[in-house]
Symmetry: C2
Subunit: 473 residues, 2 copies
C-alpha cells in the first residue's frame, strides 16, 4: 500500500480557514482558542460575514479573502448554508474540507437532500470532505485539532481512533489519557458523505505514528472493501473494533444518528474473524484491550503465568484466561525448585502461584517472568489497606513488597506483562506509580486476562498471515 496523501492534508494542513467562526459561545466557539493555545495562531484564518476581529485575530468576510497558504477549511456554519460555502471554498482552490455542521442525512429526508447538494458541490470542485455532523480530526504530533480538547489529549501516543460519532470520539479523547492511553491521530467521520472509515483505516494503516487502530463502527459503507482493507492493515498493526448494532434494537438506535445503515451483525463478526480484527464487546473492553495491545509485545504462545497474593483472585483470573484461549502450564522444574527452596511449608508451588502473605512476591514474579515455559505474566497484587498504610508509614513502599515493577518489566521486554491491583484506590494509585507507563494496571483480574487473550489471538493471526513482529515495530 502507498500512503494516502489525499487524507494527509486533513492532519497536516499548511493553513486552515475556520468558516463560520462564532462570536458567541456554542458549537465550535472554542476551536480558535484551542488552536491558538496549541501553536496554530499563525496558520489559522477566521471567516465570518461580519468581519472585524475575534480572539485577537482578524476575521475575513468571505473565504475568497483568506490569504495563502491555506489548504484546509473547517466549516461550522448552519447546515442549510453548507452547499454554498463548499462552492466558495472550491472557488478559493481549497481541496480539503471538514464539515462539522449538523442537520444532514441524520435528520431525515430534507437533511438527506441537503447532504446531496453539499456532495454535488464538493464533487464539482474535486474537494475531499470529512463529515458532515462530526468534530473532525486531531493530530497529536503537530498539535493540530478541529475539536476542543484538553491539553493532555495532545500527549503523543500510538493509538489512532476512527469514530463515526463526533461527540463519542471527543469523549474518548477526554477519557483515554486517564487510562494511560495516548493518541497518534483521531478522526470522527460523522455522516461520511465522502471520506469513509475504510479510507481512513487505510491511511492509518500506512501512518508510521499509528501502532494500533481503534475503530468505533455503527455500520460500514462497503463490506467487501472493509474486509480487504482490514486484511491489509492487520498484517502490519492491530485493529481493535467496537461495533454497535449487535441487536435489532441496537441497530435501530444507531440508524438515525450518523445516518448509517447498520449491517447484520453476524456478517461483521465473520469479517472480523477472517481479518484478524480484535472485536471489543463493549466500551470497557475497547479501552482495556487497547491498554494492553498498545503497550505489550506479541506473545510467543498462550502460556500464561499468574503470580498472586490472593488465591481467590488467582482463580478468577484463571477462569477468564482459560475461557479466552490461554493456558496455565506447569512452571518449569527450575522455577519450582527455586521457589520450593525459599517458600514456607504452606505454599503450594504451582501456576497460579499464590504466595499469600509470604514476603516472596518479587522473587516469584521474577521467576515467572524468566521461566521459559511461560509466555506472558499477570501479577495480582493485593494487600489490606490498613496494612498498606502502616507499611508505607514505616518506610516500606509498595516496591519493597511487590518489587520495582517497571524495572522487572524491563528485564523481559519480549513477554506481555500486566498488573492487577485490587483494593483501595490509594493502593491502586501506588501500584500505577511503581509500574510505569509500559505496564497496564487493572483493578480487577478479568480485564487483564481478557485483554491478554485478545492479544494472543491477534498474535496467532499475525503469525499465520502477516509479518511476525510486535505491534510496536
Amino acid at each position: 500500500m502507498t500512503r494516502n496523501n489525499d487524507l494527509n492534508t486533513f492532519f497536516e494542513p499548511t493553513g486552515v480557514a475556520l468558516v463560520g467562526a462564532r462570536r458567541k459561545t456554542g458549537f465550535g466557539y472554542g476551536i480558535p482558542i484551542v488552536l491558538e493555545r496549541q501553536g496554530w495562531a499563525d496558520r489559522l484564518y477566521l471567516v465570518n460575514p461580519g468581519g472585524g476581529e475575534l480572539h485577537g485575530m482578524p476575521v475575513y468576510k468571505t473565504v475568497a479573502e483568506v490569504p495563502d497558504p491555506v489548504d484546509l477549511a473547517v466549516v461550522i456554519v448552519p447546515g442549510p448554508v453548507v452547499p454554498a460555502i463548499i462552492d466558495e471554498i472550491g472557488q478559493r482552490g481549497i481541496k480539503h474540507v471538514i464539515v462539522e455542521s449538523a442537520g444532514f442525512a441524520e435528520v431525515g429526508d430534507a437533511g438527506r437532500a441537503l447532504q446531496d447538494q453539499a456532495k454535488q458541490a464538493a464533487a464539482r470542485h474535486g474537494i475531499r470532505v470529512i463529515g458532515p455532523n462530526c468534530v473532525g480530526v486531531v493530530n497529536a504530533a503537530n498539535r493540530f485539532t478541529t475539536v476542543e480538547i484538553a491539553d493532555e489529549a495532545f500527549t503523543p501516543g500510538g493509538v489512532s481512533i476512527i469514530a463515526q460519532s463526533g461527540v463519542f470520539g471527543n469523549v474518548l479523547l477526554d477519557m483515554l489519557p486517564e487510562y494511560g492511553l495516548f493518541v497518534a491521530k483521531a478522526a470522527t467521520l460523522g455522516n461520511r458523505m465522502d471520506v469513509t472509515e475504510i479510507e481512513m483505516l487505510d491511511y492509518f494503516g500506512n501512518d508510521p505514528a499509528t501502532r494500533l487502530v481503534m475503530m468505533y463502527l455503527e455500520g460500514a459503507a462497503d463490506g467487501v472493501k472493509l474486509r480487504h482493507t482490514l486484511e491489509a492493515v492487520t498484517r502490519e498493526k492491530p485493529v481493535l473494533v467496537l461495533k454497535t448494532g449487535r441487536t435489532e434494537a441496537g441497530r435501530a438506535a444507531t440508524a438515525s444518528h450518523t445516518a448509517s445503515l447498520s449491517g447484520e451483525d453476524a456478517l461483521y463478526d465473520a469479517v472480523f474473524d477472517q481479518t484478524g480484527v480484535i472485536r471489543a464487546e463493549n466500551l470497557e473492553e475497547l479501552v482495556e484491550t487497547a491498554r494492553v495491545v498498545a503497550t505489550q509485545p506479541l506473545p510467543r504462545g498462550n502460556r500464561l503465568g499468574i503470580v498472586t497474593s490472593s488465591g481467590s483472585l488467582g482463580a478468577m483470573a484463571t477462569d477468564t484466561a482459560v475461557s479466552r484461549g490461554l493456558g496455565l502450564p506447569n512452571l518449569s522444574d527450575a522455577t519450582v525448585a527455586a521457589m520450593r527452596a525459599a517458600a514456607p511449608d504452606w505454599m503450594n508451588v504451582k501456576n497460579p502461584l499464590d504466595v499469600g502473605p509470604a514476603p516472596m512476591f518479587q522473587q516469584a514474579l521474577r521467576a515467572l517472568i524468566a521461566d521459559p515455559e511461560i509466555d506472558m505474566v499477570i501479577a495480582i497484587t493485593i494487600i489490606p489497606y490498613v496494612i498498606f498504610k502502616e507499611l508505607t508509614r514505616r518506610g516500606y513502599p509498595a516496591e519493597a513488597w511487590f518489587g520495582d515493577i517497571a524495572a522487572i518489566r524491563a528485564e523481559a521486554p519480549q513477554k506481555p506483562f500486566v498488573v492487577c491491583a485490587v483494593g483501595h484506590s490509594e493502593f491502586v494509585r501506588e501500584m500505577r506509580r511503581i509500574s510505569g507507563p509500559e505496564v497496564p494496571v487493572f483493578v480487577s483480574p478479568e480485564p487483564a486476562a481478557r485483554a491478554l487473550g485478545s492479544l494472543y489471538n491477534y498474535s496467532v493471526w499475525r503469525a499465520g498471515r502477516g509479518h511476525v513482529h510486535g505491534p510496536k515495530a
Copy 2:
C-alpha cells in the same frame, strides 16, 4: 425460618478474648488497635503467655484468667497450638471461636490432621468455630471487627458479605465504600471447619440489617442444603454470588487455598437458576450488580427507557440491555407529543431518546421517568470536557444541564434509575455528586444495562416465588 442465634454471638459478642495477641507487627497485630478505635476497649481482653501490657491494655497469661463477661474468642496463635488453645477456651466456658490462624487443611495432609484435632477439641466443648484460615467477621452496626479495616468500612449499609477467602473478603471491604456500597455484616469463613457458607447465608437471610447478600464461593459444603437455603433466602432478599472454578484450571487454582473441593460448575449454574440467585460472572460484575441491586427497587417489568446525549452510547446500552432480557418499548404518545413540541427538527423522538446537544436533557429524563410505558431508566450523560469546564466556570454546574438527578430520582422512587457518566474523571465526579447516594453512576453504559437486566431477572423470580416487595423492604 428462625434466627440462628448460634451465629449471632460472632457478630454481637458481649466480651472478646484475643488469644495470641502479638507484641510485634505481623498478622493480627492491629486487631486490638482497630477494636479500641471502634469503641471496644472495655470489652476486649488480650491473652499472651508473656503477660504484661500491650496497647495500654493488660495481657492475661491464659484464657482461664480472662474475666467475665466474655463469650467470643479470636485465635491468632500459630497453627500447631490451636487444638490445645481450643481446649483452654472450652474449659473457660466460651462457646464461640474465630480461628484466624493458617496452616490447616489448605496446606496438605499434615494440616488436615491438625484441623481434625482442632475440630475434635471444639466438638468436646460444644464450641462453634469460624475458620481456620480466615479473618473473621465485621458488623457495621456495633462497629465490631476481627480484621483490620479502615474507618470508612464501618459506615452502615445493607450489603452483607460471605467470603471463603479472608484476604479477598478484607480487600472487598476496602474497595466497596469507594463504589458507594456499604456493608451490614461480613464473614470470611476460611476452611469452614464448622460454620459453613450455608449456615451464614441462613443467618443473613434472617438478619434485618441485611438487604442484599453477596457471596464469594469457591465450592459449597453441601449442594442440597445450599439449594434449600438459597431458595428460602431469595424469597426475602436478593443473593448475589461470584463463584470461581468455572473452568477446570480455575477449579485447580482454588483447590488448595481454602481447602474446598470446587464442584462442577454446571451444577452450580443449575442451582443458582432454580433458586433465583443472581450470578456474577466476575469481580467487576459482582460489584456493579450490587451497586444497582442494593439501591434500586424491583422493576414492574422489563421496559427500559434510555435518555442520552450520545447516540453511540445509547446504542451500546441498548445492545447490552436487549441481550440481557430487557426491552426498549416505544415511548407513550403523551411523551412523544410533549418531546416533539419542544424538540428541534433534527431530534428523532424515540427510545433511546438521543437529545444530542439540545438543552432538553432534564425535560427528556423527567418525561421518561414519568412515562407509564417505561419501568426503568438509564440516563447517559456525556459532555466534552472542555465544554464542561467552561460551563462550570460560567456558573452552569452539571445540574443546569442534566438536572438535579437526586431530586428527579425522588420523583419516581418505584422505578430503577441508573446514570452513566462517560468522559473525564472530573465530570464523572461531578455527576456522582449531583446523583446522590440512591443513584449508581457508572462510567460506561454496559454495566448499567447488565445490572438492570439482573435486577429484572430477580424481580421475575421473586414475583413467581417470593413476596412481591422491593429488596429494601
